[in-house]
């Protein structure tokens, strides 16, 4: 299932957006071939491989290159769902009733469009193991209730997603943070990144961002040279060098250098790294507001459509259309035991119609219009695509269908604006839906969120 609550990421915003420190960084880092995140070489089953997701970075994939996912056991408001370790609850049986996992609605309601409804295993095809398959590294083999063998990673049963169409697609779930009152989301089987101790990587809408292991942002300075810091004592009061131990080894993108006698500092792609002591919280990017200072990314997310803009809002920087209206994504998962997604044009549209128009299609189209692609607009990457939608049904249009709209989509689902937003940076539609838009509703597309980490 696609976890839309924390739907993932964007984009080197390069030439389309206003010049800021962030864009400056994007320009600097995207000069030449796009950087790809390095990962640890780990043993995999025969034929398995690693694909680099445009947004999510390195992911495990099956022999056809399709991304692997698992379904963590998750405690909901009124019960538990997901897979326990070494077992699969995702079966061929089609669920027909709600499970009542989320308050306040009771279990036992009839799920929509039962004649078209797929089983969990149809939406999430298990990754079968041959009868003679042998465990490899963290990959093991579980026996399903019907006796069939399935691959598992870190004791989690593995699946692919029917939403993924090509190698490298990661549309079934996201490596962005999950939790709260969102669905029992599937997780991406991500490949461990090749980073030294003391660092971590978070997936954000801007890219795979380097942070400390305490999740504070890491920065680099334009004033520094390759493996040379020009941040002196006064500067270092604000910009704390990320220090390396004497035993730390240089490897790949990572190196250390002696910034002063006996004091070693980490560098990433030869850029000395720092934290900003004035960043008030984890996830804050305030340091990037200082001219010459930038966040560090292992890889940047793909560019959004060229006509899009970015706007300052009360919550941070949001993606916006050409007129400055905030872009929203729609998130949805049903309340079945399977927690299947309902945010995709192939899914039941009744959930979205209830939120966007109270069940009224015309009101929905007025209140939450699609973002129509400009004539001639082409998809430049797999993340941002032009798709054709039947606006009356919300489903994919048939080829040549009269009245179809060519609209922008993010990771396979349309994006929207909100009629209640009157000026650039307005967020009046944000959180509109069940559980703040986490389960069935709309959330603004944050490029930077100084307060709630909604960009990560």
């Amino acid at each position: 299932m696609r976890h839309i609550t924390n739907i993932a990421g964007i984009a080197s915003l390069a030439s389309v957006l206003c010049a800021t420190a962030l864009i400056g960084h994007a320009d600097a880092q995207t000069a030449g071939a796009p950087e790809r995140e390095a990962y640890q070489q780990v043993p995999m089953p025969p034929g398995f491989r690693v694909e680099i997701g445009e947004v999510d970075g390195p992911v495990f994939a099956d022999p056809k290159g399709m991304t692997l996912y698992y379904w963590p056991h998750t405690t909901m408001r009124n019960g538990v769902t997901g897979d326990p370790k070494n077992a699969s609850n995702c079966t061929d049986t089609r669920t027909t009733k709600t499970a009542g996992l989320m308050s306040p609605y009771p279990p036992g309601l009839d799920l929509p469009e039962l004649d078209r409804r797929k089983s969990c295993a149809e939406v999430w095809p298990p990754v079968w193991a041959e009868a003679d398959a042998k465990p490899v590294g963290a990959f093991s083999i579980i026996t399903r209730k019907d006796g069939r063998k399935q691959w598992a990673y870190d004791e989690h049963a593995l699946y692919t997603s029917i939403l993924d169409e090509r190698p490298g697609d990661v549309r079934g779930a996201s490596t962005r943070r999950t939790g709260g009152d969102g669905p029992a989301a599937r997780a991406v089987a991500a490949v461990p990144p090749a980073i030294p101790p003391g660092f971590a990587i978070v997936t954000t809408t801007m890219g795979r961002q380097l942070v400390t292991d305490e999740f504070y942002s890491v920065y680099w300075s334009e004033r520094d040279g390759p493996e040379k810091s020009n941040c002196d004592t006064a500067c270092a009061r604000t910009w704390a060098p990320v220090l390396a131990s004497a035993a730390a080894q240089s490897k790949g993108d990572w190196s250390t250098f002696e910034r002063s006698p006996g004091i070693r500092q980490w560098a990433f792609r030869k850029k000395p790294l720092y934290t900003n002591v004035l960043d008030p919280t984890t996830g804050s990017l305030q340091g990037s507001d200082v001219p010459g200072w930038h966040n560090a990314y292992t890889q940047l997310a793909p560019s959004p459509p060229p006509s899009f803009t970015k706007q300052d809002s009360p919550g941070g920087v949001v993606l916006a259309d050409a007129k400055g209206k905030t872009i929203y994504v729609y998130n949805c998962a049903d309340d079945s035991f399977d927690q299947l997604a309902c945010d995709h044009p192939d899914a039941p549209q009744s959930y979205r119609l209830a939120i966007c128009g109270g069940g009224d299609v015309d009101r929905c189209l007025r209140t939450w219009p699609y973002v129509v692609a400009e004539p001639g607009a082409q998809s430049a990457n797999r993340t941002w695509q032009v798709i054709e939608i039947d606006p009356r049904t919300g489903r994919f249009a048939k080829p040549g269908q009269p009245g179809a709209l060519r609209v922008w989509s993010y990771l396979g689902s349309p994006v929207y604006t909100y009629a209640g937003d009157k000026q650039p940076g307005d967020l009046r539609g944000d959180g509109n839906g069940e559980f703040g838009g986490s389960r069935n509703g709309f959330q603004a597309f944050f490029l930077r969120d100084e307060f709630f980490n909604n960009a990560s």
């Binding site: 008030p280 919280t281 300052d312 209640g420």
Partner: protein, 361 residues
């Protein structure tokens, strides 16, 4: 995102120390320094007059919420579309007409807040201190809904927790041209949003005066408001102004209330400011914010039916008529508490100093 509270606190303290290092830490007599004093919001709740058992203001009891209404509307269950999604549709697109369920409005002569229109009308309340003409029809609308009542109502509980905790809600109020906190016939009052956490005591439960806070001039630009005021007998009163009040609650989603004709009435001391912010809440934006901030689930814990509340707000609206004469806003009051802080006007003072020093070398 993983949270490490201990790390965060120590980090924040360090940041606060760094910021405040450039300013004098000792305040002048009366807390005023350079004819200026600042405060930060630590508590805000919709002002509701409550008696111990609620029988005085809510003689018919309290309102029922989504759980009870859902059970009554759909006793035999049904399809998701015709039950759950039908109810969610009503939450987002409520009717002007009342639902079939009884709605209990607060009653009685006593209410909290301010006289917003300078008149004494039949719907006005009398304050517990005897002041007449109190305009607070929002109290009438929500006073018998447990969610908004204290101490058990989750609205009051969570909003106050997050008013302090979420930097998004960090309202700062700065008084300038102040000669005395007792009497001054003209002061300037400016509202900002701060960028820093508040200084807690050793227990972590209480906010201490004397912290420092930088101004969020970028993302907080639309929260900056300037008002004229005066101080009489230690009470600050201001003129009215339209104010956008940041108030994020659940789900870590940004939000706020659009208040029209908001004015303050605050008892000032060198350490704190307490009292009311009274004004007219724009009905549509107030309802929209409530819907976005309080899901049907959360509304259920406190008997808040948003489809039932909306027509009541419409009915009780008493300010800002539109061209047709229909009122668009409802009188209300926020009971607020603030603590003294040093407001930093140079958001990057320390950074700039550091950068400047680095460049000179």
């Amino acid at each position: 995102m993983k949270h490490r509270a201990n790390v965060l606190i120590s980090r924040t303290l360090f940041a606060s120390i760094a910021v405040s290092a450039t300013v004098a830490t000792a305040s002048a007599e009366g807390g005023i320094e350079n004819r200026t004093i600042g405060y930060a919001l630590t508590s805000a709740r919709w002002a509701i007059h409550q008696t111990a058992d609620g029988k005085s203001e809510c003689p018919e009891g309290f309102n029922e919420g989504p759980r009870e209404q859902f059970k009554a509307l759909f006793p035999n269950g049904g399809s998701v579309e015709k039950t759950q999604l039908a109810y969610e549709s009503m939450v987002r697109y409520p009717l002007d007409e009342p639902m079939k369920f009884p709605y209990r409005e607060a009653r009685g002569p006593t209410g909290l807040g301010l006289d917003l229109d300078g008149k004494q009308g039949p719907e006005d309340f009398i304050s517990p201190e005897g002041a007449r003409g109190i305009d607070n029809q929002l109290f009438r609308a929500i006073g018998c809904t447990r969610l908004f009542r204290t101490p058990d109502g989750t609205y009051a509980h969570f909003t106050n927790m997050w008013v302090k905790e979420f930097g998004f809600n960090r309202i700062l109020m700065e008084l300038t041209d102040v000669d005395s906190l007792s009497n001054d016939d003209s002061v300037n009052v400016t509202l900002y949003r701060g960028r820093d956490r508040l200084m807690q005591d050793a227990t972590g439960a209480n906010i201490m005066p004397g912290g420092s806070n930088r101004i969020d001039t970028r993302f907080g630009a639309r929260f900056i408001h300037r008002l004229k005021g005066k101080i009489q007998n230690g009470v600050l009163t201001t003129e009215a102004a339209d104010v956008y009040w940041p108030w994020a609650v659940f789900f870590r989603r940004p939000g706020g209330y659009e208040m029209r004709g908001l004015r303050f009435n605050l008892k000032l001391t060198p350490d704190k400011a307490e009292g009311f912010a009274g004004g007219y809440a724009d009905i549509d934006s107030w309802s929209s914010q409530l819907v976005r901030a309080w899901s049907t689930h959360h509304s259920s814990y406190g008997g808040l039916s948003q489809p039932s509340l909306y027509p009541v707000l419409r009915k009780l609206a008493d300010g800002y008529p539109d061209e047709s004469g229909r009122m668009t806003a409802i009188s209300s009051a926020l009971s607020i508490s603030m603590v003294q802080v040093f407001i930093q006007h140079e958001p990057d003072t320390t950074l700039a100093a550091a950068e400047g020093a680095a460049k000179r070398k």
